[in-house]
C-alpha cells in the first residue's frame, strides 16, 4: 500500500468482482429475510389472535397503527425480497443478456406495480372513513 492511500482493502475491491454489485444484492436479500422473519410471524400471529376474520374486525385491525404500519412494512419488504429472489433464479437460467434484462425489467415493473396496488388498498383502509 503506497503512502497516502487511506482507502480500506474492502473499499478497493468493492464492485470489482465478476458479479459487480452482487455482494450488495446478497447482503440485502439476507437483511430483508430477517425483517420478513419478524413480520411474517407477526402477520400469522395477528390473524390468529383476531377473534374473527370478518370484514369489520379485519378492517378495524388494519386501521390501528399496530396493524397498518407493520402491514405496510410487510408489503414493501415482501415484494422487495421476492423480487430479489426471483432475480437470482432468472440470472441462473436466462443467460442471453437481452432476454435477461427484459425479464428482470418486466419482473421489476410487476413487483413495483403489485406493491403499489397493495399499499393503495392498505392506505384506503387505514385512512378512509369507517365503512
Amino acid at each position: 500500500m503506497s503512502l497516502g492511500d487511506s482507502s480500506t482493502e474492502l473499499g478497493k475491491v468493492r464492485g470489482l468482482g465478476s458479479a459487480h454489485e452482487g455482494g450488495d444484492h446478497w447482503i440485502s436479500e439476507r437483511v430483508t429475510s430477517l425483517a420478513l422473519l419478524v413480520l411474517g410471524v407477526w402477520l400469522i400471529a395477528s390473524l390468529l389472535i383476531l377473534p374473527t376474520l370478518d370484514y369489520a374486525t379485519v378492517r378495524e385491525w388494519l386501521r390501528s397503527p399496530l396493524g397498518a404500519v407493520p402491514m405496510a412494512l410487510f408489503v414493501i419488504t415482501s415484494f422487495y425480497h421476492g423480487l430479489e429472489g426471483v432475480k437470482v433464479v432468472v440470472d441462473d437460467y436466462v443467460h442471453e443478456p437481452g432476454n435477461n434484462f427484459a425479464l428482470n425489467t418486466l419482473l421489476l415493473f410487476v413487483a413495483v406495480g403489485g406493491a403499489a396496488f397493495a399499499l393503495f388498498a392498505l392506505g384506503r383502509i387505514a385512512f378512509g372513513g369507517a365503512a
Binding site: 378492517r59 408489503v75 426471483v86 388498498a121 383502509i125
Partner: protein, 131 residues
C-alpha cells in the same frame, strides 16, 4: 463446414444422488417462487377486497373457503414455513457453520419435518376454530 458436436458441460442436476440437502435447496427456490407469485397475488387481492367493501371481501372469503381456495392457502402456509426454516438454515450456513455432513443432513431434514408440523398445527387450529 465441420459438424457441430455437443460440447461437454459441467455436471448439473442429473448426476447427483438425491439427498436432504439438495431437496431442501430446491424446495427453497420453489417455495420462494410460489410465495412471490401466488402469495403476493393473494395478499394484494385480499387487501384490495378489504378496501373495496363488504361485498368484495365476502367474494374473497367465499373463494378462499372453497376446497381449491383452501388447497392454495394451506399450500402457501407450507411454502411459508418451509422457506422460513430453510432460510434460517441458509443464514446459519452463511456464518460458516453446519457444513459437517451429518449435522447438515439432520438440519435439512428438520426443516422439512418442521414445515409439515407447523402447517398441520396452524390449519388444525384454524379449521378447528371455524367449526
Amino acid at each position: 463446414m465441420a459438424e457441430q458436436r455437443a460440447r461437454p458441460l459441467s455436471p448439473h442436476l442429473g448426476i447427483w444422488r438425491w439427498g436432504p440437502g439438495m431437496t431442501v435447496s430446491i424446495l427453497h427456490r420453489i417455495t420462494g417462487g410460489a410465495l412471490t407469485v401466488a402469495g403476493l397475488a393473494v395478499l394484494t387481492w385480499w387487501l384490495l377486497s378489504l378496501a373495496s367493501g363488504n361485498d368484495a371481501y365476502g367474494d374473497f372469503s367465499a373463494i378462499a373457503g372453497t376446497w381449491v381456495g383452501l388447497v392454495v392457502l394451506i399450500g402457501l402456509a407450507w411454502a411459508f414455513f418451509q422457506h422460513l426454516l430453510s432460510g434460517i438454515r441458509h443464514l446459519v450456513m452463511d456464518t460458516g457453520a453446519n457444513f459437517e455432513l451429518g449435522p447438515n443432513k439432520t438440519f435439512a431434514l428438520l426443516t422439512i419435518i418442521g414445515s409439515v408440523v407447523l402447517t398441520a398445527a396452524l390449519w388444525f387450529y384454524i379449521l378447528g376454530a371455524v367449526k
